[in-house]
Structure formats: C-alpha cells, structure tokens
Symmetry: C2
Subunit: 743 residues, 2 copies
C-alpha cells in the first residue's frame, strides 16, 4: 500500500504541471489546483510560516480524528453545541482536504469521506432548523447564511479529496447531500439567492462553488446571474453589466469605485470570503472571464480598500454594525490578502500579511510567504484620502485625515456615506479619532457578543437597534433629542452626504468639509474639520465647526463619545447629580445616564480627559450660552449588554447653530515609571471667532508655544473662490473655503 501510494504520488506530481490547463472535471480546481499543490509541496520546507500552518492544521486534525466524528442533529442556536459542532466540522473537513493534497496521507481523505457520508445520511431527513429566528432558516444552522459558510468550505474539501473517494460514495454524497443542498440554497431560498446583500453573495458563492465541483455549469450560471424564470437576453457583457442578481450584480452594485463596500468594513470583511473564494474558483475554472479585472479590478481594489479601513492596530473601523475588536487577523482577510496578492503584487498586502503572521495554503499564500522571506517588509501605506460610496462613487463617502509623525499618528475619520443597508447607523457627519490604533472619540460598534449563547444566542442584542445604531451613541449633532431622519431607515437610505472640500496638500494643515441635507425635516447640517499641525506642534489640533441650518428653532445637541478619565472641567454652574436618570427618551439617549450638567456663558468652556496616557481637551467657543452634559452608558440596560463608557454633549437652542470646538491632544504621563509629566493642562487659550464679512469668518486661538493660529473660513465651498477681508486693519486674502495662518 505504501509503495503504491508512493508511485501514485509521483504520478500526480509528474502529471500536474502539464495538466494544469485542463478544466472542468479535474480536481482540485476550486482554490487549489494540481499545479499550485505541486508548487506548495516543493517549497513548503523553505518557508517556516507555511510549514507552521500545515503543522498546526495537522496537529488539530490528528486530534479531531482521534476523537472521532460527531454529526449531531441540528438543534441549537448560534453558540450552542450543535451549531459549534457543524462549524467545527466544515473547518476540519476543509483542513483535511488541504492536508490530503499537501501531505498526500490518505487518512485525511478518509476523514472527509467518512464525514460527508454521515452528512449525506442525515441531510435528506432534515426539516428546516428548529430555531425559527431568521427570515431564512437553514438546515444545519439557524440561518441559511451559516449553511452557506458550511458549503463554501465543504465544497473545497470535497474538491480536494474527490479523487480519493470511491465512485460509489461520490454518487451518494452528490445525490443526497451536495445537489439537494445546492437546490435548497438557490431555488428554495430565492429571497436570499437573488438578494443583493452579504447574505446573497455568500449564497451565490456557495451554490457556484458546488456548481464547479459537481461539474454543473447551470448552477454556476445561476450563481453568476441570479435565478430568474426569464433570464436576461443579450450577450455576456450586456448580461454582466445589467445583472439583476447573482455574482455580477453584487460586483456591480455593492462596491464604490475604490472598492468601498456599502455596509461598512465589518461586513466588508465578512463578505470578502465569498467574493474572493468564488472569484478564485471562477478564475481557475473559467480564466477567460478575467474576473479579478472585471470592473477596473474592483475585487483587487476592495481588498486594498478594506485594509485602509483599519486603525493602526489592524482593527476595522467599527462603522455601522460591527464588533470593534474584529481585525485583519480574521481568516477571511488572510484568505483575501493571499488570493489578491496572486493577482496583484500590492506591497500593502505583504505589509498586512506580516501583521497577520499567517498565510493560507494556496498559491497566493506561497507567494506571500516568499515575499515575507525576501527581507524588507513594507508598512501599510497611510495617507489622508477619501473613499467614495455608491456604485458610481457619487453617494457620499468617508474622509480620512492622518497627522504627521507615523510613530505617534492620529487618524480622524468623517463619515458622510449612504446609510449602509440594514446594518447602517444614523451617524451622518460622524467623527472618530484614533491615536496609534486606540480610539479617542469612538464609534461604539454593535451591541452583540458573537457566539455567546446566553447573550441571546450570540445574535444582535436589542440595544444594537435602539442604542448603537442611533445618533445618541455617535459623535454627531442631533436635533430635538431625535436620531437623524428620526430613525427612519427608508428616509435615511435616500440621502447621503456631499463632500464640499478636501484639501490635504498644505504644510501646516489639512481640511475636510461635508454637508448633509434633510437630516431632519427642514434641517441641513455641515461639518468642517481642520487638522492643524505646523512644525511647532508635536501633535495635531483639530478645529471642528459643526453647523445646523433651519428656519425653525431647535434643540441642537453635539456629542463626543470620548474614552478615558475626566481630568478637568472649566464650566460655569456645574451640577453633579446625586441620583441618576437617563439623558433622554429616544435616539439612544435613553441608554445614557445624565451624571452631571453645566451651563457656560464665558468665552470658552474646557473639558479635559486622559486616554491611554495622553491628555485631551475640547475647548468650546461659547458664541451663545451652551449647556454641557456628562453622560455614562448603562441606563435602561437590565441585562448589562452595554459597555460602561462615557460621553460629553453640548447643547443650544437656535434656528441656525454653529458649534466651534478645538480638539487638542496634549502632554503625556507614564504611570509605570513615574517619568516626568508635562503639559497636563490645555495649551490653548482665547479661542474666538470673528465675522469678517458676509460668509467670511476667522477662528483664532493662542497656543502656549507662543503662536497665534488663525483659521479663515468661507461659507462658499468653491475651491477657486478668492476672498478678501480686513482683520486688525490688515487686508487678508485667501482662496477656497479654508485657510490657516500661523503667527
């Protein structure tokens, strides 16, 4: 037997290079191919990162094989035993498939064979999953989305061990498990299969990959174009560009021109797997489609775009429903980066792979391993930029401002994108601010404990919809205590922001301005952020001008969801409450305790806190009397689903409102060594704004470095418009909406 295997292996190795172009019924051909397997086998010992992955897989799998196979009747919700077991099963089958190819030990093929036979025995008996909580329940799992995950990896496992399974078993597995599963996930689940959404792309990828592995081109065709009784007529290019559902429709509709995925980075990361894996299967089976270069290489762009949507720790910016800890270490991103690198040798992919410190066993994984071993590993590129939302890039977007000095870098984001489908949040013109990957002004993300059964089976908790999606938990301005668009998703989905100015080419400052109309009936808003950092400033100072425009009088509330410990407050009439009640009754405010409040009428109010050993101060210009509120999350939260974190809010009643704030990092402490503490106080004084002429203002402040900073602002956002005004008897001239002078 051993001897036979040796010959058999030799025969495979010998044949594979020349047979790599043969398509159709050759196996493997989804992600691995005969040619890539040979390359991997020939090189594995040269690259410890690759070898380690194989050894880890082997260790895990040998333990699983020793424990025996468990294929329980589906019963539990997410996080429960049967859910986790079926998840574990597909992962182990997938790894066994790879190991069989790489190590050519038949026990791994046998493991997949045995397990698939058990599934084939059970599958025909299964009703819909008994946990009836999803709009589209699955068979093995409570939602068919998880069944799609199962199929995407099981198809690869089957592909890898296909040649080692007897024709008799193959027949049973295909007839009783894979074909009916494809049928279930497509025709029987049309509302998912034809949906443009991350659920939809998982579903078409699952069915399409089954199509290739079963040699069923009709399944592939449906996955590419959707399932319709009357398919679109026309040539393939026309059908791709006008696809109503299926993979091409997803590629057309879900990404902006730079690859921004409309649901935001958390789902971007999640949807990446089916996009990339199915694309790789298409590329291997129908290279003539040139899928990775479809629509100006949108699939390659989207991988790069996703990497840009991270903080310096590699965690995804938690816009919309998201778990803030989710990072580039997610398996989908490792897969995505590896496969993308095969098709485009982008240095950012290598930079991220170095952080991941892990590669997949694939052709791209091998190429990344080679690049990592070659020495100088690049660092992911970061520069201030705009990512546009919408299929044509005309539906708002996200702006990024990065400060100088990479080692101590700050990153500010301004979000003026579309709502982001069902997982979107009401955070129009919302900010976040990070230092070295740690949030200073946070986006809460979602309220969810993934896979923790006692937290409602790991699903989104009610506070996601009622708190985390609402305006009250974001760094935004609200009106009359309500969420943007009064929390109406239909209305919110119709409107997106407009970039009014983006100017990052100056030595001493960068600026962005975005506008969002119709945030409330009769209320438009505009936010201008100027990042000031001349050579005398170690860290940047942010001028934040938040404007509201209305013909009616409203209560305007501007919130900062800061993180850290309060150090100092310069307010008038300050009251700290002895008993606590919530701040408001809706928009998420009902989840926030009002712990203190103040009213300040003097020229400037200041609020200082300490976050990860750096001090921050928000200095407010009281161009009108301002109420201050200090809040803490946790009201109306009997199950303690929320993190206990603070917020700071300022309020005014007005028709038009203009909040002018400086956000200023300053000083540093090191409690572990008691090193010198400096600059614990704000370095800023005398913040004021002067109206120079209709639509022309100057915001000025003094800094302890001896400089006076002047920020000239024009209401007119035209970047070619030239402005002239008089300040202190001197004529000042500038062009465009924003200009900074350091005196």
């Amino acid at each position: 037997m051993k001897y036979f295997l040796l010959i058999f292996c030799f025969w495979i190795s010998f044949l594979s290079p020349s047979s790599s172009t043969a398509k159709g019924h050759e196996h493997p051909s989804l992600i691995l191919t005969k040619a890539s397997v040979k390359e991997i086998r020939d090189n594995i010992n040269k690259y410890p990162i690759l070898e380690r992955t194989v050894l880890e897989m082997k260790k895990r799998l040998d333990a699983t094989i020793a424990e025996g196979i468990e294929v329980p009747i589906p019963k539990d919700p997410a996080g429960g035993y049967t859910h986790e077991q079926h998840k574990e099963n597909y992962r182990r089958m997938y790894e066994a498939g790879i190991l069989y190819q790489v190590l050519q030990d038949p026990k791994y093929a046998q493991f997949v064979d045995d397990m698939l036979m058990k599934y084939a025995e059970m599958f025909p008996t299964l009703p819909l999953h008994p946990v009836k909580k999803s709009y589209a329940p699955g068979k093995l799992f409570w939602q068919c989305l998880n069944d799609d995950n199962w199929v995407v990896y099981t198809a690869q496992a089957y592909d890898c061990v296909y040649d080692a399974i007897s024709p008799k078993h193959r027949k049973i597995i295909e007839k009783d498990l894979l074909r009916p599963y494809a049928e279930f996930l497509s025709k029987e689940n049309l509302k998912v299969f034809n949906r443009i959404h991350n659920h939809g792309v998982w579903d078409v990828a699952a069915v399409g990959m089954l199509g290739y592995v079963l040699g069923d081109q009709q399944l592939v065709e449906q996955s590419l174009h959707g399932y319709f009784k009357k398919p679109l007529k026309g040539d393939e290019a026309f059908r791709q560009a006008n696809a109503r559902a299926g993979f091409y429709a997803h590629l057309n509709q879900l990404f902006g021109p730079e690859g921004y995925y409309t649901e935001g980075p958390y789902y971007h990361r999640y949807a990446l797997t089916p996009f990339i894996l199915f694309a790789e299967a298409i590329s291997n089976n129908e290279p003539e489609r040139d899928i990775f270069h479809y629509r100006n290489s949108v699939l390659l762009k989207t991988v790069d775009c996703l990497l840009q949507l991270t903080n310096e720790k590699g965690e995804f910016l938690p816009f919309n429903d998201a778990i803030p800890e989710m990072s580039i270490n997610a398996p989908s991103v490792i897969e995505g980066v590896d496969i993308a690198y095969k098709h485009e040798q982008n240095p950012d992919f290598v930079a991220v792979a170095a952080l991941q410190n892990k590669v997949t066993i694939s052709e791209g994984g091998l190429m990344i391993a080679k690049a990592l071993a070659s020495g100088d590993v690049p660092r992911i590129r970061r520069h201030s930029h705009i990512i546009k939302d919408g299929q044509h890039g005309d539906q708002g977007g996200i702006g990024f401002l990065y400060s100088k000095n990479r080692a101590e870098q700050f990153a500010l984001t301004l979000k003026y994108s579309t709502h982001g489908l069902s997982h979107g949040h009401y955070d129009k013109l919302g900010l976040t601010l990070y230092k070295k990957g740690k949030p200073v002004l946070q986006d809460y993300g979602a309220v969810r404990y993934v896979n923790v059964e006692q937290k409602e089976g790991g699903r989104y908790l009610p506070e996601t919809a009622k708190f985390a999606r609402q305006s009250g938990s974001h760094n935004v301005m609200t009106c009359d205590g309500k969420s943007h668009f009064d929390g109406n998703i239909k209305e919110s989905s119709k409107h997106w922001g407009t970039l009014m100015a983006f100017d990052v080419d100056h030595k001493d400052y960068q600026a962005i301005r975005a506008r969002q109309n119709h945030v409330y009936e009769g209320v438009d808003m505009q936010r201008t952020i100027v990042q000031i950092q001349d050579t005398s400033l170690r860290d940047p100072i942010y001028l934040d001008v938040m404007e509201g425009f209305s013909k009616e009088t409203h209560q305007y509330d501007l919130s900062y969801q800061y993180l850290g410990q309060i150090m100092d407050m310069k307010f008038d009439q300050y009251t700290s409450h002895q008993t606590l009640s919530p701040i408001g009754t809706q928009a998420g405010f009902e989840y926030i305790w009002k712990v203190a409040e103040a009213e300040t009428t003097t020229q400037n109010a200041q609020f200082s806190w300490l976050n990860h050993e750096v001090f921050y101060t928000i200095t407010t210009l009281n161009n009108a009397p301002t109420k201050q509120t200090l809040g803490e999350y946790g009201a109306n939260d009997p199950n303690f689903n929320l993190r206990r974190e603070p917020m700071y809010m300022m309020s005014r009643r007005a028709d038009d409102v203009r909040f002018v704030n400086l956000i200023e990092p300053h000083g540093k402490i090191n409690p572990a060594t008691n090193e010198l503490v400096r600059d614990t106080h704000s370095q800023i004084s005398d913040l004021k704004e002067t109206n120079l002429a209709e639509g022309l203002n100057v915001v000025q402040f003094q800094h302890s470095n001896g400089h006076t900073y002047q920020v000239f602002l024009a209401a007119n956002s035209d970047k070619a418009a030239k402005h002239t005004a008089t300040l202190n008897n001197e004529t000042v001239r500038w062009q465009g909406p924003i200009s900074v002078v350091v005196k």
Copy 2:
C-alpha cells in the same frame, strides 16, 4: 587644553585600579567607584544594553545642555512647572555625573558645576516652599521628601564631578548648598529624620550620602542611628540592634523576615531607592559594616520579595495606597535589582532585568548586562507561598496561590497582614485574583493621578481616604455597612490576621485559611480558599468560604470587585433600577451606585462575566436567603476621580454567617478572529454543603467534565487532627482542616 585633558584622563585611568581601596576623600565613592568606572569603560562596547543607556543619556543631556540651565524660584505644587523643573535638574545632573565618569568629557562636569553654582546662589535665600500642604515642607519642593530625592541624586552627581570642580566652587557649593541642605534635612526636620517610615528612610539616606560626599562622618553617624541629644550607649552591634531611628532602625523595623515592607509593594518600590543606594554608599565607604548581609541579608531578601509582589505583567500588586500601573520598570527597581545582583547572583534579578530591558551604569548593571548576554535568560520563579509581615514575621502576612500551567496561570492572593501604616487599607482577609497579570478580582489601589496638577497637584485625592482605603472597595466581607475596625486606623493597626492553614503540596488542590479577630466589636472572621485543579480541569476552580462569628445579629456583605462585562445572572426577584442612588452612606459604599438588586432563595445563584476573553462565574450556595447587589463606582464623585468599574455584593442578616462561593473561570472567546466559542456557561451545578458532624462539613458540586468534587472542611485548623465522618453511608477520613476528593 585638549592635550592636557588627554593626559589628565590617562592619568585617572592609570591610577584608578590601585587607588580603589583608598576610602574617605576619594571620588567617586558613593555608587560608582574608580574601579567600577574603569570596568564599565573597558566593557561598555561589548554590551548593547549598557551602551544604549549611555547613548540615551547622552542624547537627553546634550539636548538639555543646548537648551540652557533653568533654576527657577520654587513656587508650584507637584506637577507644576517649578516642581517638574527641579526634578528634571537633579536627574540631568545625576546623568551628567555618570557621563563625565564614563565618557570623561569635561562638558558634563561643567554642566553639573554650573547648575550647582546656581543652586548655591539661590539656596540661602529660600524660605520654606510656598505651597503649604505638607506636614514637612521642603525648600525646592512642596514636601521635603522631594528635596530628599533631589539630594540623593545630586550627591551622586557632585561625587562624580568632584575632581573636576575648582576648589573655589567646591567651597561655595558645600558651604551654601550641601551643608545647609544637610542641616535642613536633619536637625531642622527632626520629625522626618527620626521617623520610621518611607519619608524617614529617604531623609536619612539623603543626609548620609551628603555625609560621605562631604567627608563628614558625623552626618553619616546621625543617618545610621538617628539624631538624639543623648545617643544610645553601648557597642556598635548593640546600638544597631536597638537603634531608635536612622538607617539601622529602618532595617530592623520595616521589614519582615522575608523582606516584606510593611507599607506594601508600592511604597516598597519607592523606599527601595534610599535603602539600596545608601547601603551601596555604606558598602563602598565602610565595607566593614557588611551592610548587605546585616540582619540575615534583609536588603537582598527585600529586593527578591518585592519582585514576588508583582503580577505576571510585572506590575506591583496594588495593596494599600498604590497606582496599579506601577511596575518593575520603575527606575528604583532597575537600580535595586542591579545593585542587589552585585551582592547576590540571584537568577530572579536577571529574569526581571530581562523584562526591564534596561540597566543602570554601575558595577551591578555591568554584571547584569553580562548575565543577560550570556544566553539563557531565566524566568522569574513563581510558586505558591506565604510572605510574613512584621519585624519578627509574627504579624500576619500575604498568601499566594498559583495555578498549574504557567502559560495560562492564575494567581490568587489572600491578605491578612498588618494595617500597613498611614497608607494602609481596611481589607482584612481581602482577595485578589489575576490571570496572566490582568486583574479578575481587583484591588482598586489609590485614587491619585501622580504629577497631574489639575488633580489636586498630583496628591492623593480625597477619595483615596474615603473610598479606596475603605472596605467597600475591596474583595472583603463587611458588617453593618461599615469598614473594618470602623475605619479607625489606630484600632486596625493593633490587629492582624493569623494564618490557620496553608497546604499547597497536593496534586489536585491547594488551600489557605486565615483568621482575623476583632474586625468589628464582637465580630471575628475567617476565610478559607481552596484552589481545585485536578488533571481534568484546564483552569482552577476556587472555593471561597467566608465566615463571620458573632453573638449579635449583623448585616454581613461580601463584595467581589470583579472587572469585565456581565454575561448572565441566575437570581430570583431581580430588579434593575431606573434611577440610581448610592449603595450605602460610608465605608466607600457611598461612592458606588446601586444599579440592580435581587434576592435568591433557590439552592444556587450564579453571576457570570467576561474578562479579557475568558468567562467567569461565581456560584453561590444559598444556605440562607441571599440578597445580591450590583454596583458601579462613581456616585458622589463630582470631579470624576474614580474609574467607572463594577462590583458584585451578596448580603445576609445573621449572627454567625457562612458564605460559600465557587469562583470559576470557564470558556474563551476571540473576537478578533471569530474563532470557536466554547463553554460560555458555567460548568458547575448542584453546589451544596452538608454538615457531617460538629465542626465537619463537606462542600460538593458537579462539573460538566463528569466529576463530582468533594471538599471536606474541618473547623479545627490543626493540621495533625484526624477526622472521621459518614457521607452517603460511607466512612470518610481525612487529616487537617481541608481535604479534596474528586469522584
């Protein structure tokens, strides 16, 4: 000039080896000596860690020299400009002294010369510091403790550059600055100079080091034995053993036999500098005193003891007033470890130096650098043990239980020590629990932002005395809502706990029992902790039996200051409050919001939380109806001095009370990768206790691993006592107070 200097340097290098034994007026002789400087100069290029330190010093100092010297009139409190500047000045002078010795560049001597001349000009004009907040104000600083710091390092700087300063300048510096400073810190500050306390040891070290550098043996003598009009009579050994003040009195009285410093690790770290530096100066100037081996080498033991009082991250356990981030990276610990290593080659010193990744420029620093370069760096040794408090080791102590598996290690501490002088806390029989250096059940430490001027000048905030020192913020049992000893420090200082049992030699469990009598009038307490970890348990389970004994009925409250997010609660009659009020009116409870409460009468209550990706459950045996309270810090805290952290408390009314709880880590999640989540639920069921006979009980519970755990407890703590009882018609026999059977 250059040529002359070259000859001069050569002459020094040539002479130093042979002159190293000459004592008295040779310089340097405090910490560096001519011999050790030569050794360092000859070896510096071999050890990058040493070279890097010199280069960092040089870079800092060259910048300081370029900026020019600033010696401002003292004015500001801690954290303010003049405070920080004088601090910076002594640090830079100290470094300049070292650099002059090592690099022999005269500009560094010149820097010290210039600065000391400025101080000598100012010092005679100085009144007491204008910030009158200390019981003992200084001259340059608001408290003379900081002046002592200044002198300890300035004396070293002067010692290093002595030979390079002109006799004329030396005369001015000594006459106008150093001698009057010594006078001020000793005779004019007798309440500090003769005090047995960390302030006292800093003061005698400062004066003693001035004594050596000025060649004034009388100052040295006073520092060693205190300043008294009638000095103690008798021979030197008698005078050392019976010293009423001074260095010997500190060595006699402040340490336990293993070197435990009675104020706790935070002040231990702080007091280490004067102990170690002055001892080294004594050792170099009067080697015949053999100071490092005085009292069974208590100074060497205390360094090792301090290292044991850290968590796995190297942070000191924040017993008593302490900043929880303070760690072995503190300069005092680097100095301490280096100098101690010169006198005893303890592998733990090397282990810690490896974590510190920094050495001092000293003979010990060079030896550590050599040890680190030699290859295999040890890991600090951790084993369950007892550290005894009190000069004779008979005043209570601290117990440490470490779990198996170093990589995932848990550390539990039980504190039954003395009060710990003025910085002590009311936390008799208090627990802490850590996993891999991260607190699970925390000791809050102190409420203080060191050197942050806006937080009351960086001093202890009022909440230290009213919250952090009180029982309500600790993992302890209280009576009738009051602190231990009703918060009376005099009373608390008279009583300490007694170790009743300590048994760590069993395969499946370790146990500790301590008792504290008179905690309240007529109330004694005892706590028994059993750490259970047989081979079937990945992580340990802790049985916590907290008993109170009284003839009167009391309200007993047992608090757990857990950290993390609540996952699940199994209580009856649960109420989450809609408006919040504090839990109590004193003992720190007035700083805790009561956010929810419950009453549970069923057999077991369970409370689960998530802390750093691990789940924990406290399972309570309701042998009587139990009230549960969930609290959050922050009530009555208008300046937001407290961290917002949670606590869990259980309450009963009884005369004798017996709280039986299991503290159980279980499961794991990894939100960054969405890996499999397992064991989110407690694995424990059916916790019960059966009285077998008078004074004999068995606590039993089921675990999902299939085992039944039986913990046999005898009220009699005699470890030789043999017990026999009947359980389920079987005879059980065990010896000593605690025994565990796994079935």
